[in-house]
Symmetry: C2
Subunit: 238 residues, 2 copies
């Protein structure tokens, strides 16, 4: 049976980290909420109708009788199932640790445009967004990129992958984080990626993987916009 991915239609958001794993693996999946009446099905599960283990929020994934929410937990599950993580437990834990660090970076990227409340409009927190974005560009992105550079440099199998000698969901997620930051902060990222050549090379390499290269220009990949995590507001970039 096909995997069922549930996520808000109209934006990449956190669902995109799951989509990239499914696409890279060539997995059979349905992006449920983008289908006609799909939101009804999503809301039913979100309201936990009858489910003993209701997810807190999208994205969540249904695989037969397994229902799992939280992006990093979904990828922990898919990593084993789709061979997108090492087979040994320590390797899986390390891959997950990297994923959780990428998740922290992504949450900070979101809060750049919503530092006060997700429930308020950007326009109602624009002044605060400018202050937060300046710190994010000057202090936070460089700290994360430096760590990813270190992880790549210390991989005993070489700098091609974050973990071991094969693609993992952590590579796909780092691609997406960098790709999103490039969209949101093009000026800052051009400067910062020149100091993080191994991360920049990983981003390019993932984009060229056959299934990812086929996915990115397809309709299954939703375009960036100012509804998602990564938003391009020129006043927040420098």
């Amino acid at each position: 049976m096909a995997f069922e991915l549930y996520y808000w239609p109209g934006l990449q958001g956190r669902g995109e980290f799951v989509r990239l794993a499914l696409e890279e693996a060539g997995a059979d999946y349905v992006d449920v909420a983008r289908r006609h009446d799909g939101m009804v099905a999503m809301n039913r599960l979100l309201e936990g109708d009858g489910a003993n283990r209701p997810p807190y929020a999208p994205p969540f994934l249904k695989d037969d009788d397994v229902l799992v929410g939280q992006t990093a937990a979904i990828l922990l599950y898919l990593g084993r199932k789709l061979d997108l993580a090492p087979r040994d437990e320590q390797g899986q834990l390390w891959t997950h640790q990297i994923q959780l660090t990428i998740a922290d970076l992504v949450a900070e990227a979101h809060d750049c445009h919503h530092p006060i409340a997700s429930s308020l409009y950007y326009e109602d927190q624009k002044t605060e967004a400018k202050r937060r974005s300046a710190d994010f560009r000057d202090s936070r992105i460089p700290k994360y990129l430096a760590w990813f550079e270190t992880v790549l440099a210390r991989n005993p199998h070489g700098t091609e992958h974050l973990v071991g000698d094969a693609i993992t969901y952590a590579d796909l997620s780092l691609f997406q984080a960098v790709d999103g930051l490039n969209y949101a902060f093009p000026i800052a990222m051009a400067r910062l990626l020149s100091e993080a050549p191994a991360v920049a090379a990983l981003h390019t390499r993932v984009a060229r993987r056959p299934r990812i290269a086929a996915y990115l220009p397809s309709k299954r990949r939703q375009p960036y916009n100012e509804q998602g995590i990564f938003r391009h507001y020129p006043e927040l970039d420098a």
Copy 2:
């Protein structure tokens, strides 16, 4: 060999979620950075001296040759090792999913007093902190508490535990999240917990577990203060 926990001395912080798991299990552990010269050892590992898998930030745990960072990943590891998670894979994934949701709540609690940047003083973002805290108290805490209530209500084994019929690290972490919020937002939490009786009961029950009851008044438990995640600034509560 004893577990080695590495975390900033002088505050509970994210390290506390790991401490509670170690304490509940009666595990032999060293809180390295609180020892004389412990910070030297922590910084050495943090700078990744020689480590192929350097942690991004504290807390991290060393167990013989295993080094694991990221609070939720540490608990995923300890859950299996210390019998603080179900034995079946789906149960472990569900416990982890709850932990990741608690981690989201905790990150939001932190950003209440630091909505602009962790690197700035609270006094330099007090106006923004007031705005963010109002939304956190009025919208966010209630949403999380409602979900935990649902999870407890739907546990087929009863409302005593979040998962199954035994204590897990998720119960300990929810205790700590509620305990910290009670310290930071006493007025709001008195009101909100009256609407979340199962969560309030879990908090009370965990505090009375023999090993936790022995730990809480001990010197191993550091007091709350205005350096940690949960800070009591009266102007942020209502």
